[in-house]
Structure formats: C-alpha cells, structure tokens
C-alpha cells in the first residue's frame, strides 16, 4: 500500500492519510488539533497487521510526519508575532513538497553510493607500515608556537547555546466573553444581525468566544436565533421578552 491510503480514525478526523493531508493543507482540519502521535500509532498498527516492513513507504511516511510535526511546532511556537498562525496552505504544501523532494533526492543518492561501493567490490588497498628507514619523523613543535587564543576561542564556540525555542509568543486568548457580550449587545441594539456578520474577519478563537457569548445572551433571555438549514446562516434577534422589556 502507499502511505496515502493509510486509514486513520482520530478524534478530529477519520479517513485516509492523504485526505487528512489535503484537509490540513486546505485548512479545513486544524493541524493543531490533530494528534500526530495517533497517526503514528495507526501506522504502526497497520505495519503490524501487514507483518512486513515496506521500506519505501515507511520512509515516505516518516518524512511526511516529521514535516507535519515541524509545521505543527511552528504553529504552536511561532518565532515572531507576525508569523503567528500565518502559514498559507500553498506555503505549507510547498514546504511538504520540498521535504519530500529533499528526502527522495538523498535517498536516491544513497542508492547511488551503494552502487559505487558494489562496483568497487574486491578492490583492496595495501595497508603496511613504512620500512623503518623511511618512517616519517614528527618534529616536536617549537615552544610557544601555539597561540593560547586558540583555546579561548574554542571555549567561546562551545559556550554558544543553540537557538532556543521561544515561548514568548504563544498565543494566549486575549478575547474575553465580556468583550464579545458587549459587542453582540451593540449589534442587537440595532435590531438584529447575522452571526457571520458578528464574527466577520475574526480568528478562530474569537469566533468560538463569540458563540459562547451568544449562548450566554440566549440563557439570559436577551436573544433568540434561527437557523433554517444545517451550516446555514444564523439570524440573531432580540428575544420578544427583551423587546417587551425594552418597550415597557
């Protein structure tokens, strides 16, 4: 089988691996919500069921998973605030493609090295010490011929820390239910609104918090809504009670 058709059954997704990839790249499934560990476990189960190791596809799988892990870690720990959650699907696809090509390239090069080595089969070299009368004398270097700065520089190089993963820029939810309540009440005061309009241009987190705020308004009897079909628009209006209250 190829990696593409590996069947997955995850919390947020069930279907073949290539579909998951496609959905991630089209941003229809949030990579942050995909448990890559579960994907790996599924693959291991699959391998166990097959009882054999398919080297080619396993390598492809490892490269893809590694690339997804890196993408995911970039999403979680964006190095710069501007970059936060800012990987375009095309960019992600290009990166995955570049990874696959890189891995493929050096795997092929490794195959070529195997061929070279095989072609040299049976070629041996002489390995014998020089006759004593020809042995190279190694002169002890002169006193003071080495510069102590060499040592200080070496220490300096080894003191360098590798680039640290910064946790500074993890996005903590900055939007609060109170803020969204105020926003929705403002819209309601104008008579009513469409939910899409209320969250126009907002990020995922804001959409979720706005939905909470809407539920809160409903619970308090301030708003009613209507949705004519699944996934259709949600029309929100002030509840009749509230209207009466206002009118009264």
């Amino acid at each position: 089988m190829n990696v593409a058709s590996l069947d997955l059954d995850l919390d947020v997704f069930s279907g073949p691996f290539d579909l998951l990839l496609t959905l991630i790249l089209r941003e229809e499934v949030d990579l942050l919500e995909v448990s890559l560990a579960d994907v790996v476990l599924s693959y291991l189960d699959h391998l166990e069921a097959r009882g054999e190791l398919e080297l080619e596809t396993t390598t492809e799988f490892i490269v893809l998973i590694a690339a997804l892990l890196e993408l995911k870690s970039k999403l979680m720990l964006a190095g710069d605030e501007d970059e936060l959650l800012d990987i375009e699907p095309e960019q992600a696809a290009e990166e995955l493609l570049a990874r696959m090509l890189d891995a493929r390239r050096y795997r092929s090069a490794a195959g070529h090295l195997h061929e070279l080595l095989a072609a040299e089969h049976g070629v041996r070299f002489r390995c014998a010490p020089l006759p004593p009368n020809l042995r190279r004398t190694v002169l002890p270097p002169l006193d003071g011929s080495e510069d102590p700065r060499l040592l200080g520089e070496a220490i300096g190089r080894m003191l360098r820390m590798p680039p640290a993963i910064s946790l500074r820029h993890i996005a903590f939810p900055r939007v609060t239910v109170a803020e969204r309540l105020a926003h929705l009440r403002g819209l309601l005061a104008r008579g009513g609104f469409d939910f899409d309009e209320a969250v126009h241009g907002a990020d995922r987190m804001t959409v979720a918090v706005t939905l909470f705020a809407l539920l809160e308004l409903y619970k308090r009897g301030e708003a009613d809504w209507e949705q004519r079909e699944s996934f259709g628009g949600i029309a929100v209006r002030a509840s009749s009670e509230a209207v009466v209250a206002v009118a009264g």
Binding site: A4, G15, P16, D18, L19, L20, L21, T22, L23, L25, R26, E28, L55, I62, V63, I65, A66, A67, E70, P89, A93, E94, L96, L97, R99, M100, L101, D102, A103, R104, R105, Y106, R107, S108, A109, A110, G111, H112, L113, H114, L116, L117, A119, E120, H121, G122, V123, R124, F125, R126, C127, L130, P131, L134, R157, M158, R160, M161, P162, P163
Partner: protein, 195 residues
C-alpha cells in the same frame, strides 16, 4: 634529466609504499623532476592496464594509488578472513550521501532532511573513517565532511565525480503532479465527505 622509463619504477615504488593516494605534484616533488611525471605515469598506466596484473593503478581521492584486482577477492578473503569493508546500512548510506553533497553539514541538518535522528549512523561513519569533523556551525553544532578514505573506497577521483544531485529530482511535470497530489489528492473524497 632521465627518461620516463627510468622514472616509472621510482613512481611505482612510491605508490607501493604510500598509504594515501599521491598527486602528480607530490610525485614530481619527491623525484625532483627526474623526468616528465605525466609521461612516466602514462607508462605505468600501460604496465598496469586492467587484466594484465594482479595489481591495478587507480586515480582516486585526488591522486594515484595501487589497489588489488577484484579477481583476487576470493583468495584475499580466504587469506585475510575478513571482508573488504562492511556494507552500509540504509541509514548510514543516506547520512553519507547528505554529508557528501552538502558538506560541511551538521547533525541537526542531516536529521532535518532524513526526518529521523542520525546519531548512530554518524558515529559509525566517523569510526569507519568515511567522514571527519570539520569545525562547528554558527549555532555550535559540529560539522562533518567526507574523507579521502571515502573517495578511495567508493572509487571516486574527487567529489566532482559524484553526479549532480538534481539528477534524481522528479521532472517538473512529476513535481507538479506531486504538488497536486498533496493539495488535491483527497479532494474527491473531501467533497464526498463534505456532502
């Protein structure tokens, strides 16, 4: 100045004695321009033409070196009771290929390309003398490069003998297909699932 046929035996002796390949310059320097080194090497090359002798003259690792003819391998294995070199595992071959093409290259970089840790492969390649340390990267990671031993064992005159790595890249059409596969392979299913 003597004749090439007087110089050839001297070069032969030097090549016999030296563990490392010797360049024409090194040979010329050691023989202090006794005669034309290139002509003498040409002469030696004829004497060592494949099939004539049990020893071959090879141009490897930036110089000239003598090596056994592979036809004696069965006998050599019986006599020395060890194979010429251990074979490379797939992980070692991939690591070696990355070092050969990208040198100097660090371990994290190798790991990034392979998608898996390459520590034990790197250590084995170092122990077998196929790669050497080559300083540190700007982030402090040890860098690696291939050794003369690598060129010798793989029958290469220099790194230039390695084919262009782009040779194994898929054609632009295939790349476009791969890109499509990544972006849209599951689209039919995605649409099916979304309905």
């Amino acid at each position: 100045m003597s004749e090439p046929d007087e110089l050839a035996p001297v070069l032969e002796a030097l090549l016999f004695l030296s563990a490392d390949p010797l360049s024409a310059d090194e040979l010329a320097e050691a023989t202090q321009g006794m005669a034309d080194t290139q002509q003498a090497l040409e002469l030696l090359r004829e004497q060592y033409a494949p099939g004539r002798r049990g020893i071959r003259l090879r141009e490897l690792g930036g110089g000239w070196t003598l090596a056994s003819d592979p036809r004696s391998e069965d006998a050599a294995r019986r006599l020395f009771s060890r194979p010429r070199t251990a074979t490379l595992s797939p992980a070692q071959a991939e690591t070696l290929a990355i070092v050969a093409y990208l040198q100097p290259v660090s371990r994290p970089e190798i790991t990034r390309i392979r998608g898996v840790s390459s520590d034990s492969a790197t250590t084995t390649l170092l122990e077998r003398g196929l790669i050497d340390e080559a300083g540190r990267s700007q982030f402090g990671a040890v860098l690696y490069r291939t050794s003369t031993q690598f060129l010798k064992l793989f029958g290469l005159r220099s790194l230039e003998d390695l084919p262009d790595v782009a040779r194994w890249d898929p054609t632009p059409e295939e790349q476009a297909q791969l890109r499509d596969r990544l972006l849209r392979a599951g689209e039919a299913r995605a649409d099916g699932a979304g309905a």
